[in-house]
Symmetry: C2
Subunit: 226 residues, 2 copies
């Protein structure tokens, strides 16, 4: 797969390197060609680097790590991301005392409204960059969730594949409008990491447990509780 | 501990039974004395039952399962819950197509505003009743989170103890205002259970993984990703 990283900070660098390790072609984009090239040099392997425009033109899938800037300012023209799969991994800024405002519109939905010809998929907003050090092994053993939401089913399936390849568990959350709940989970985990001092390796795992009747409970509790 | 269950539906019955099994004194309250007594009869053990007023007078800790009704209508006088620990386990109703409104004020904060003399603690809103069939064993093995928030530290610690005794992992989320994030997690897990068909045994686990340097990664990835 050809993957363009839009904004090659911590998040972009880490995910770009992991995908390159899986054999994908990765292009690190940045505000300046020079910085993009520097990131590719450090990342090594077969990665390339340059401007955000070049990264967008290169990739079929784009990781969008830029926040708080209209895409028209990130690219010379937003037409460069027409029909591309655009992974939005952003969260709102952390407010003073973690007094987050309620999310009435998600960043992902806002982005989708700004670039209606791109296929926006929400993913990768509920973990700190440190966690990527564990990918794909031993991460696979921990069953850490990446919550994924998007309106284009095929784009979402591509992102789910990219999630799984680096050792995460993809949790399909349906339509893009549910990004609001996913971003709220991003707020919650950052509260736990920082204010509640769980640290950067705090993770969220969603899974279905085996039902009671398969667990030889003898039926006592199960029947009592009905 | 003396525990009063306010509203003895699925949630109240299940938790009441589990706490009674742990040796607590449990009183099932309901809108009518008759219904409360019936629940206690089915629950068995040493449980008692009667009206919500009686349950509130009985318990030092109250599980509040009533939603969408002002406490002044649940009790003959709200003074009956003065100084009590009040566990709010509620979520907003599921909207059509899971198009939940953004939570600008949590149910827990609303309740705390309505009964300022009670010590409201948010907990137990991110799982379905079926999960209680697994408590406390084998649930303990699964590390399922109960998110807990409250402004009274001692009340919160009491609730954390009650959470842990029945096999859950308590996640301290700080002040009651963070109940907004916890209720949003309640919305997310119900979306996953129902729309995304993960079923009633879908769970959320938050935990801190061991850092990369303790996991003998050889430092390659960890250094590359910085």
């Amino acid at each position: 797969m050809k993957i363009g990283i839009i904004g090659s900070g911590n998040m972009g660098r880490s995910l770009g390197i992991l995908w390159a390790e899986q054999g994908h072609e990765v292009f690190f984009g940045s505000r300046t060609t020079k910085k993009g090239k520097e990131v590719a040099e450090i990342a090594g392997q077969t990665t390339q680097g340059g401007s955000n425009d070049e990264a967008a033109a290169f990739g079929d899938v784009l990781l969008y790590t830029v926040r708080g800037v209209h895409p028209a300012e990130v690219f010379s023209s937003t037409s460069v991301i027409d029909n591309k799969i655009l992974i939005d991994c952003n969260n709102q800024e952390i407010s003073e005392n973690f007094d987050y405002p309620a999310i009435t519109q998600s960043l992902a939905e806002k982005l989708a409204a700004e670039v209606p010809n791109a296929k926006v998929v929400k993913a990768f907003n509920t973990m700190a960059q440190e966690l990527f050090e564990l990918a794909p092994i031993p991460l696979k053993n921990y069953n850490v969730s990446v919550f994924v939401a998007g309106d284009d089913e095929s784009a979402k399936q591509t992102v789910i594949q990219l999630v799984q390849e680096i050792g995460f568990q993809a949790i399909n959350c349906g339509e893009l409008r549910h990004a609001r709940l996913i971003e709220s989970a991003g707020d919650l985990i950052r509260l736990l990491m920082i204010q509640q001092q769980m640290g950067s390796y705090a993770t969220i795992s969603v899974r279905s447990l085996p039902p009671a009747e398969t667990q030889r409970l003898g039926g006592r509790q199960a029947s009592n509780l009905k």
